[in-house]
């Protein structure tokens, strides 16, 4: 059934700020219908008042737009990667909820974009419901693995000679 069964997670204020930040590095990873992965920098990634991730796709025929379509059709996950200037990084997984292509919100996005770049277009204003957030900062992830799965490390790390 198409109706999305998503266990939405609430994003922390820190993650929301990072999603809104113009300085953060933002990457969107999707997969196509054959499972091939596709990742792009996507500066338009942000968050709306409902706590859902939003992004603007400017090209109707892009692989990203096709993959987002495939994801909304078949309830497949996409992944958003965020990194701030201090090196803190997060991965948010979610499922597209809507491809807004009409309506006041869409038209506002369209007007704002085309005022800056008259040649640009807005193929879709996508909304993604997050269902998993992972802190991906290296230091944090390393500590987590050392604590939860110490068997995975090399023996020489604890070797005292």
């Amino acid at each position: 059934m198409a109706y999305p069964k998503i266990n939405k997670v609430e994003l922390s204020d820190t993650v929301k700020e990072l999603l809104k930040s113009k300085d953060a590095i933002k990457v969107l990873a999707t997969t196509d219908k054959h499972g091939e992965v596709h990742a792009v920098f996507k500066g338009s990634i942000s968050v709306n008042d409902d706590g859902n991730i939003t992004l603007i796709e400017v090209l109707e025929s892009s692989q990203t737009n096709r993959n987002l379509t495939h994801a909304i059709w078949f309830n497949r996950h996409v992944s958003v990667l965020l990194k701030d200037s201090a090196g803190n990084s997060y991965q948010i997984k979610g499922i597209p909820y809507a491809d807004h292509t009409v309506g006041p919100e869409y038209e506002e996005v369209y007007r704002n974009l085309t005022e800056k770049n008259p040649d640009a277009d807005v193929a879709g204003y996508w909304e993604i419901i997050p269902d998993e957030v992972r802190l991906e900062t290296f230091k944090e992830r390393l500590q987590e693995e050392i604590e939860t799965l110490p068997i995975l490390g090399h023996a020489d790390k604890d070797f005292i000679g």
Binding site: E60, D99, T101, V102, Y106
Partner: protein
């Protein structure tokens, strides 16, 4: 009085696979497009609560839409959307009376501050309606509401009343599935009155496009005009007058607005292209065999013929280019008895065979769900099963993709009538 279908199928739920069963059986076909096909097939109705929340200052109300003049959207409901919009952007152009009562319609309810599509109490999907554009309610210089000459889909402008009369219908040879042609009876004695004023269309288009971000394209269609120095010349003249006016408001040498017209010959297409710059052309074969064409579309068959119609499609590709020419099949009308296919599978095979043949000539095919209302000749028949439509739409799309015939002017965003071309985006 509403135009509704007369036939009822009381046991259809026991005889056909359900929406959920189709999703399980065809897991690679978009659930949204399958749902669209089923809504087109079964129709929909609104609960009282949904009607209360249907705000016709925001949404287009069928009762106010000019398409009713051309027979497509006639309803007795005071509040009736002209179309639905799904989460993925899929548009469903469907009035509440389409195929009404043949099978149980879907029910649109208002739950937790949103509209939802339900079936037997189960929530199937969220849904929105087609929004009213800014130009609705404004008047042309002749004092007519602009929506009477130019109607709006979610992302497309439609000039569907360019000519409300069809010469084929006028001489008793209209297409038997058609719900638009019967309106011709109002104009039989005065066909000139059926023609829209190109100046008013121009005014409405200019006003509509002031709403930034709303419209991607324009589509024009009309009843066939067989008169002129040669067959269809007066129809060519009509489109030429409309698009030469529209053209002067756009930069560039070419327009990619669509005209859904009669089968013009090569000379007419060249003439039209030079006059208007417009290159997106649709002319409909309607059914998958010559024998059915003669029975179901007698006027077209007599004046042009099935093979002649196909040849004109091939010629159109030469003039306008691959990806700019397609034809529509009214899937299901070819199953009407006594002359139609005896089984759904025979129809599917014939449609896909024709699609492949046309694809070899770079002609695109789109297929739709046949809508039955009481004014059509085939009023005592019904559209086939959801499984049939799933096979047709996915099969047609597969062939289009295989041959690279990407008629984007008829895709989900620009047209939205044909589930087969809605699948083009994956």
């Amino acid at each position: 009085m509403a135009d509704t279908a007369e036939l009822k199928l009381p046991n259809w739920r026991n005889e056909e696979l359900s929406y959920n069963e189709i999703l399980e059986k065809y897991p690679s076909v978009s659930p949204f497009v399958i749902l669209k096909a089923d809504i087109l097939r079964r129709g929909f109705t609104l609960t009282e609560k949904a009607k209360e929340h249907f705000d016709d200052s925001i949404y287009i109300n069928a009762i106010n839409n000019s398409e009713k003049d051309f027979g497509a959207v006639i309803t007795s409901e005071s509040k009736a959307p002209v179309g639905l919009l799904l989460r993925d952007g899929t548009a469903i152009g469907c009035s509440t009376n389409q195929n009404e009562g043949i099978r149980d319609p879907y029910v649109i309810d208002y739950v937790d501050d949103k509209f939802v599509i339900t079936d037997q109490g189960e929530q199937i999907e969220d849904v929105d309606f087609w929004r009213k554009p800014d130009y609705y309610g404004k008047l042309t210089s002749k004092g007519n509401p602009m929506e009477t000459v130019l109607t709006a889909r979610p992302r497309r402008l439609d000039v569907f009343s360019a000519n409300k009369y069809c010469n084929f219908w006028g001489r008793g040879e209209g297409c038997k599935f058609c719900s638009l042609g019967p309106a011709a009876r109002f104009y039989r004695n005065n066909p000139e009155a059926a023609l829209a004023d190109p100046d008013e269309i121009e005014e409405a288009v200019v006003e509509a496009l002031k709403q930034k971000g709303r419209f991607t394209t324009i589509c024009t269609t009309a009843g066939s005009i067989t008169t002129g120095d040669k067959l269809f010349d007066d129809e060519v003249k009509m489109y030429s007058e409309i698009y030469t006016r529209i053209r002067r408001h756009f930069k560039g040498d070419e327009l990619r607005f669509q005209y859904v017209a009669s089968a013009f010959d090569k000379e007419q297409l060249i003439r039209l292209k030079e006059a208007t710059g417009n290159i997106a052309f649709t002319t409909n074969l309607e059914v998958p065999t010559a024998e059915l064409f003669e029975w179901i579309c007698p006027g077209k068959a007599k004046d042009v013929g099935y093979e002649g119609w196909k040849q004109r499609l091939y010629d159109a590709v030469e003039v306008l280019g691959k990806g700019n020419v397609n034809t529509q099949i009214v899937a299901g009308a070819d199953l009407v008895q006594p002359n139609g296919f005896k089984t759904e599978n025979e129809s599917v095979e014939a449609i896909l065979k024709l699609t492949e043949e046309l694809a070899q000539h770079d002609v695109g095919v789109v297929a739709n769900v046949w809508g039955v209302v009481s004014t059509i000749i085939f009023k005592n028949f019904y559209p086939p099963s959801l499984e049939y439509y799933t096979k047709v739409f996915s099969g047609v799309n597969d062939i289009q993709q295989k041959y690279g015939i990407l008629t984007y002017f008829d895709d989900y965003k620009r047209c939205g009538t044909h589930p087969s071309s809605d699948l083009l985006r994956d």
